[in-house]
C-alpha cells in the first residue's frame, strides 16, 4: 500500500508542477513567472523526497537540499536591478 501511495503522490505532484507551468508561461508580469518557478522548485523538492524513499536512494535528499539552497539565489538574482541613474526612472 505504501508504494501505491508514494507513486500516486509523486504522480500528483508532477501533474501539479505541469499545471503550475501555465503561470510560468502566461505571466503576466516577471514577478508572477518567478513565483511560479519557486513553486515548481518546491514541488520538485517534494518529488525528490518521495522518490528518495520510493527508490531507496538517500542521495536524492542531498539533491533536494541543493534545490532549496539555490532557490533563494534565484530570487536574489531576479530582484537585483540596475541602480537608478539621475532619477529618470
Amino acid at each position: 500500500m505504501t508504494l501505491l501511495v508514494l507513486d500516486a503522490a509523486a504522480f500528483m505532484l508532477l501533474l501539479l508542477l505541469g499545471l503550475g507551468l501555465i503561470r510560468v508561461i502566461a505571466g503576466p508580469a516577471g514577478a508572477d513567472r518567478i513565483l511560479a518557478v519557486q513553486l515548481s522548485g518546491t514541488t520538485t523538492v517534494g518529488l525528490l523526497l518521495l522518490l528518495a524513499v520510493r527508490l531507496e536512494e538517500p542521495a536524492l535528499i542531498h539533491a533536494a537540499l541543493l534545490f532549496v539552497l539555490f532557490a533563494a539565489l534565484l530570487a536574489l538574482a531576479f530582484v537585483r536591478r540596475a541602480p537608478p541613474r539621475g532619477g529618470d526612472r
Partner: protein, 99 residues
C-alpha cells in the same frame, strides 16, 4: 501504524500542494498568489517531509529531511519578501520585466 500515519501525512501534504497550485493559477494579483505559494512551501512540504521522514527508517536521514524543510522555509520566506518588495517597486515605476 507508522506506515498509515506516514501515508496520511504525505497525502495531506499533496493536498496543500494542490491548494497552492490552484491559488497560483486562480488568484487575481501577485500578492494573493504569493499568499497561496507559502501554503505549499511551508505546510505542503512540511507534512510531506514529515511523512517521508517516518518512512526513511533512519534518524540520520530523518534529520537530513528536516534540514531540507528548515532551509526551504527560510529560503521561501526571504524569496517571497524580496519578490513582493520587487512587485511593489516595479508597480510604482512601470513594468520593466519584459525588457
Amino acid at each position: 501504524m507508522t506506515t498509515f500515519l506516514a501515508c496520511g501525512l504525505i497525502l495531506a501534504g499533496v493536498g496543500f500542494y494542490l491548494a497552492g497550485t490552484v491559488g497560483l493559477l486562480r488568484f487575481p494579483d501577485v500578492y494573493s498568489r504569493l499568499h497561496a505559494l507559502t501554503k505549499a512551501d511551508n505546510t505542503g512540504l512540511g507534512l510531506l517531509a514529515l511523512g517521508v521522514a517516518l518512512l526513511a527508517g533512519s534518524p540520520r536521514l530523518a534529520l537530513l529531511i528536516a534540514l531540507v524543510w528548515l532551509v526551504a522555509i527560510i529560503a521561501a520566506s526571504v524569496a517571497c519578501h524580496l519578490i513582493a518588495g520587487y512587485a511593489l517597486q516595479v508597480g510604482e515605476c512601470g513594468d520593466e520585466d519584459d525588457r
